[in-house]
Symmetry: C2
Subunit: 152 residues, 2 copies
DNA sequence: TACTGATAGTCAGCATACTGAGCAATATCG
DNA sequence: CGATATTGCTCAGTATGCTGACTATCAGTA
């Protein structure tokens, strides 16, 4: 009988669970109310001004149906603007607002501290190894999920 | 500017996303409709007959509020029985049904094949290293989430 | 025994994630 | 040009997961 601890899928869920909890705790203590998904989306919008939702989804490997709600909430919080594209009337162009920029800047230390905390218990070398192995497994499995990573 | 690929939290989400997709695909091809969470719960109920929901939650590190719905669905599918405990009238004792046992037995090859597939792209040694590092990080962060692992 | 605290379970509400369907607009090709 | 396919987005439905609150019950103690 295989133990749960021998199942990469189970370990993946546990690690993700802890990662999200750490992120929310650090960011919450810093006085912000932003989820990991919202943070990644906001940072990507800032780095790629005017991008459309499908491109955003591809850059961070979200499902396109998930993006709708995430962007809804970023707009609701005043961190992002969503407007119709002039080139393609199906598409929505996304821009970060000044408020969004301010939030990103102030939240960054908490985010980085969270990334550290997730790896506590591992040496620097082990942390690097873990990330390298995850990247490799993810690259090999990229096309297996409905929301693969897509380059710009 | 830190890239997403340098964030363990982001890598955790991506790996988990792929792991779930692979699981559902393999299990679906085998003709079953069972999620990773439902599978883990069912296997744990089988291994610990008569356990209550809080114990089940602890053994697989779920939140107790999530367990309610998961067990609901296992009962709905006829794979599990939930009955009031005689010792403690607050608690529910969980038992696997014959149908549940049959399902577990028939689904096992698909589950194991899924675990393999998640690690494709990694050598056997790398896969072992990844699992070891994940276990270590998880052990160190166990108490950081609302649903830590609890021994029986 | 009565009070106090802890525990088992559920529920409402919110935020990911996915499937599948559908609409509107654009691209492509005969 | 017109039929067809594709693309961007949204929506309905379902399943995790979480927070916080609530009920019922149990356990320990004054």
């Amino acid at each position: 009988m295989k133990d749960n601890n021998d199942m990469p899928g189970h370990l993946a869920r546990r690690f993700q669970q802890i990662a999200v909890a750490v992120f929310l705790a650090e960011v919450g203590e810093a006085g912000f109310d932003l989820t990991p998904v919202q943070y990644a989306a906001l940072a990507t919008i800032k780095a790629n001004p005017g991008l459309d939702q499908v491109t955003l989804a591809g850059l961070i490997a979200y499902d396109r149906t998930t993006i709708t709600g995430v962007v809804d909430r970023l707009v609701q919080k005043g961190l992002t603007e969503r407007r119709a594209s002039s080139r393609d009337r199906r598409a929505r162009e996304l821009e970060i607002t000044d408020e969004g920029r301010r939030t990103l800047r102030k939240i960054t230390p908490a985010v980085e501290s969270a990334q550290q905390k997730m790896l506590r218990g591992l040496s620097a070398k082990e942390g690097g190894d873990l990330m390298r192995l995850l990247r490799k497994a993810i690259a090999a499995g990229n096309e297996l999920s409905r929301a693969p990573l897509r380059e710009a």
